[in-house]
């Protein structure tokens, strides 16, 4: 027979909650993401040059390790003499801003629709899910290009496009989660007690879906950044001269044989960022909501 003291001793041999959480922390991705956030915040301090200052005399300057370089531009300069490194650093701002706004809007729209769909059920559910499915079939890139041609190439237009590209992922998963939560006892009790639907959603369902939302958000940020990069590459993203990684690759593509660094380094930046985000998303998902493991 175990005494209380023995029970406690048993429990103490279990690693604490904190230890468990940080046991298999993905260190490298966190470091990368921290660097990116840090760069975005302290961009003016970190950048060796003004990212938009063009100096034709420095056109296509080489990175410091390439022979013939003045060393003034660590990662080289682009076709207009702008420092690639500084532009990459400032580019973090665009990537973060864009992904943050898009995700938040996507969460707002998709989360609400998902909760409503799962909670209300029947036709509303059907309808919202059909909308989700349909949005999957639409070739989003083309719609985005059309919108840019029509409404002009500007940041608000881009944000709107990106926001609309993410909502359905949230709606779907949040709905699934809501369906499960709806069945729980305390929800039924709340209903019986006469709580309004809104209250139930806000106080009982919402906390339950937060985990799902966080996981999806982290998994989707990478996709949003990638989408913005693709749009910028096609010439429909952030208008020049604001530095965006995607448009930097596009600017550099005619110079691959002569000045490969213009297109190379921004691509690496995209790659590292998205990788780190994917890792974080996976890790968060495993920690918070393993049920989602089967999702991409």
């Amino acid at each position: 027979m175990s005494t209380n003291y023995e029970l406690i001793a048993d429990l103490e041999r279990e690693p604490s909650f904190l230890a468990k959480t940080f046991r298999d922390l993905p260190v490298v991705p966190i470091v990368i993401l921290s660097v990116i956030i840090f760069a975005a915040i302290f961009a003016p301090l970190l950048s060796p040059h003004d990212p938009e200052y063009a100096s034709l005399a420095d056109r296509n300057a080489e990175p410091f390790w390439v022979s013939g370089s003045t060393g003034e531009f660590p990662l080289g300069a682009d076709a207009l003499g702008r420092d690639v490194l500084s532009r990459i650093i400032y580019g973090t701002r665009i990537s973060l801003l864009v992904s943050f706004v898009a995700i938040v809007t996507g969460v707002a729209i998709g989360g609400v629709l998902g909760m409503v769909a799962g909670y209300v059920g029947s036709h509303t559910d059907e309808f919202i899910m059909r909308l989700c499915d349909i949005s999957l079939a639409i070739p989003y890139i083309l719609i985005a290009l059309v919108a840019v041609i029509i409404f002009g190439q500007s940041v608000p237009v881009l944000l709107a496009i990106l926001a609309f590209s993410t909502w359905s992922a949230f709606a779907r998963q949040v709905r699934a989660e809501t369906l499960v939560l709806k069945q729980l006892d305390y929800v039924s009790l709340a209903k019986v007690a006469g709580c309004s639907h809104f209250r139930i959603l806000a106080k009982h369902i919402l906390p339950g879906v937060v985990n799902t939302i966080v996981v999806i958000a982290t998994l989707r940020v990478g996709a949003v950044i990638m989408f913005e990069a693709i749009l910028s590459y096609l010439g429909a993203g952030i208008p020049p001269p604001t530095p965006s990684w995607g448009s930097m690759v596009s600017d550099g593509r005619d110079y691959l044989p002569t000045a490969w660094w213009i297109a190379f380094f921004p691509g690496v930046a995209i790659f590292l960022t998205v990788t780190a985000l994917n890792f974080m998303g996976d890790w968060l998902r495993d920690k918070l909501d393993p049920r989602l493991r089967q999702s991409v």
């Binding site: 938009e52 200052y53 063009a54 034709l56 005399a57 056109r59 076709a79 207009l80 041609i149 002009g152 190439q153 010439g235 208008p239 020049p240 001269p241 593509r253 005619d254 110079y255 691959l256 044989p257 002569t258």
Partner: protein, 635 residues
């Protein structure tokens, strides 16, 4: 489980089947293979020396120039070239255009592709090297009566493509082509529909080889007609029989022309394949097959040049140096280079039509709130409806002038030329007068002084700069998007917040035509070789100053005066007028010329003789490579 296996296989199989079906179904444009043409080659004629006629009051004198016959005919009765010797010329281009074998469809710049690729021919053309109007489909031409008619004598024995099926060119075809192009045709998209309709009434067939163009408006610019787009590249003669038989829509893509290359396959976005016409009346191409491939990515094109996939390629300044260093020939003959220029659009100052005198309404794009736009009627006695109250000295105009001067002064032209154009262009400071022209005056050189520019801005009331939209087409002919962006940066350096609008040219074009455009925009215009001692080219610059987005009273007078001076034959007078015009332009600072930049091509010296001496291209407004029929293979 077997059922699952079967179904999985079924799924795979259907995907493969889809794939196979897709592979085998390929709808390609193929013209019927041509049989040996029946027409005999025209006998060789001695090339007559062309005498450029003096232009009369309306630009045409009673002694029109001696029409210059076509170049010496090809070797008579060419024998069949053995298969092994049939050479193929592969050209890499950013765009191969679309098949448009009907006049009315000639929207710019696609209306010229059939000409540049060698499948279509015009009535006359501007022969490079001799700088004279030379007959192509038209053998001779003259005016009749008191300038009532323009009569063209159509060359005989010029067969249409298609192996004889469509017969030879006759006056009917010329008449049909021009009437189809004209703006009287409500469906016409042709860029010269206006000019054709304003100049001529409907063309008429007088007899089998005589086409008559009744003149509607005697144009002040008959001299310009010589090098006018109407004839130099944009109005290939198409077959009326094709139109009659194939109908208005199918005739558009029925690939029948008269040129030395006959189109076999033309897939827009992909490729163009043509084979040479044996015993062609004008010239015998050395390459039996012409294969143009569309490659929009320059890096891909460069790789293709290096590994021999293409013999000739369009190439931008960015990579020309690299290829030249590797031994490839650089061809810059597609100059007469076009001047890269910034127009400060929005300055719609005219209220009276310069030719008719009718009242011109305030244009929709006119907005004097914009810092670079001035209002000449904004003062006590000013009446926007009355051009006689036009006043250049109003405060609005003077401030806007300072702004434009500041913008102009902020541009470092030398840097642009050396760096962006890799020294291959020429600095340009005055429209209509290239810097190395004997007529050029040093006082027209633009100062580069960003500090002074900032002072000017402050004096105009913008010490902290302002926000300015700015447009350049990223996809057009000889326009350099890099230079355009570099200029934007130069303006940013003097405190202006530039908002770059990078829309396709086709999207912006309607605003130009509807006089709505009202922002500084980057374009190309004018020519870089103006010989003020050769009459023809003087008149090429007579239209300087007219551009979409600006209407300046006073500019038109220079045009008329220049014509008068040309007529009188007084060279000194011509130079005086050009001086006055240029001074005027400098004073009002309505545009900033930047550089003359030719279109460049590279050629593989191992397979073709493609350098500038051996392959001379025609001036081509849209910048398309052309004149492939004259290229010789390498020795």
């Amino acid at each position: 489980m077997n059922k699952k296996l079967v179904l999985t296989m079924l799924g795979m199989f259907s995907m493969v089947a889809m794939f196979a079906i897709a592979c085998s179904s390929s709808d390609e444009e193929t013209a019927a293979p041509a049989a040996a043409p029946a027409a005999a080659a025209a006998p060789a004629e001695a090339a007559a020396t062309a005498v450029p006629g003096k232009r009369g009051k309306q630009g045409v004198n009673q002694t029109p120039p001696t029409p210059k016959p076509a170049a010496a005919a090809p070797a008579p009765a060419a024998k069949e070239v053995p298969e092994a010797e049939k050479l193929t010329l592969t050209v890499g281009m950013k765009s191969v255009g679309v098949p448009l074998f009907r006049g009315q469809e000639g929207a710019y710049p696609r209306n010229r592709t059939h000409w540049t690729l060698g499948v279509g021919e015009t009535l006359t053309y501007w022969e490079p090297g001799t700088e004279t109007v030379t007959g192509m489909i038209a053998e001779t031409w003259e005016f009749t009566g008191d300038m009532e008619e323009f009569v063209f004598h159509i060359r005989k024995n010029v067969p249409f493509h298609g192996g004889g099926k469509w017969g030879n060119v006759s006056a009917e075809d010329a008449v049909y082509t021009y009437n189809d192009v004209g703006a009287d045709n409500p469906n016409t998209k042709h860029d010269n529909g206006t000019e054709v309709s304003q100049t001529y009434e409907k063309w008429v067939v007088r007899d089998e080889y005589t086409a008559v163009a009744p003149i509607k408006t005697i144009r002040q610019t008959w001299g310009e007609w010589d090098i006018n787009r109407e004839n130099s590249s944009a109005n290939a003669i198409f077959s009326k029989k094709v139109f009659d038989e194939m109908g208005p829509e199918k005739s558009i893509t029925t690939m029948v022309g008269t040129g030395p290359y006959e189109a076999e396959k033309w897939k827009s976005g992909e490729e163009f394949i043509a084979h040479s016409v044996p015993n062609h009346w004008r010239i015998q191409p050395n390459f039996h097959t012409l294969h143009a491939i569309e490659v929009p990515e320059e890096t891909t094109l460069l790789a293709m040049v290096r590994n021999g996939q293409v013999d000739i390629a369009e190439m931008s300044v960015k990579n020309i140096g690299l290829l030249a260093g590797e031994g490839f020939d650089v061809n810059d003959s597609l100059g007469m280079a076009w001047t890269q220029v910034i127009f400060y659009a929005g300055n719609y100052w005219e209220r009276k039509h310069n030719e008719t005198g009718e009242v011109v309404p305030v244009q929709p794009g006119f907005n004097p709130e914009q810092p670079w736009v001035g209002d000449p009627y904004d003062y006590a006695g000013g009446d926007p409806a009355d051009q006689s109250t036009y006043n250049f000295e109003t405060e609005s105009m003077q401030n806007a002038l300072k702004v434009r001067q500041a913008l102009n002064m902020a541009i470092d032209r030398d840097s642009l030329n050396e760096v962006i154009f890799a020294g291959l262009g020429k600095r340009a400071d005055m429209m209509g007068v290239p810097n190395d022209n004997p007529v050029f005056k040093d006082r027209w050189i633009n100062e580069y002084n960003p500090e002074k520019a900032k002072e000017l801005l402050a004096a105009a009331g913008y010490p902290d700069g302002f926000t300015m939209p700015y447009f350049f087409p990223p996809d057009f002919g000889l326009v350099s998007p890099e230079a355009a962006e570099a200029v934007a940066n130069m303006w940013e350096n003097i405190g202006i917040d530039v908002e770059i609008e990078r829309t396709a040219y086709t999207t912006r074009r309607p605003t130009m035509i509807k006089r709505e455009i009202n922002l500084p925009w980057y374009w190309m215009s004018g020519i870089d070789e103006v010989d003020y001692d050769a009459e023809q080219t003087w008149l090429a610059t007579a239209h300087v100053g007219w551009q979409p987005g600006m209407q300046v009273p006073g500019l038109w007078q220079f045009r008329e005066a220049l014509h008068d001076a040309v007529d009188s034959g007084d060279r000194a007078e011509v130079e005086k007028i050009v001086d006055e015009r240029s001074d005027f332009l400098q004073e009002i600072m309505i545009m900033s010329p930047l550089a003359d930049m030719p279109k460049l091509a590279v050629a593989n010296p191992d397979t073709v003789k493609g350098d500038s001496k051996n392959w001379i291209m025609y001036t081509e407004h849209s910048g398309q490579l052309n004149n492939f029929e004259t290229i010789s293979p390498a020795d």
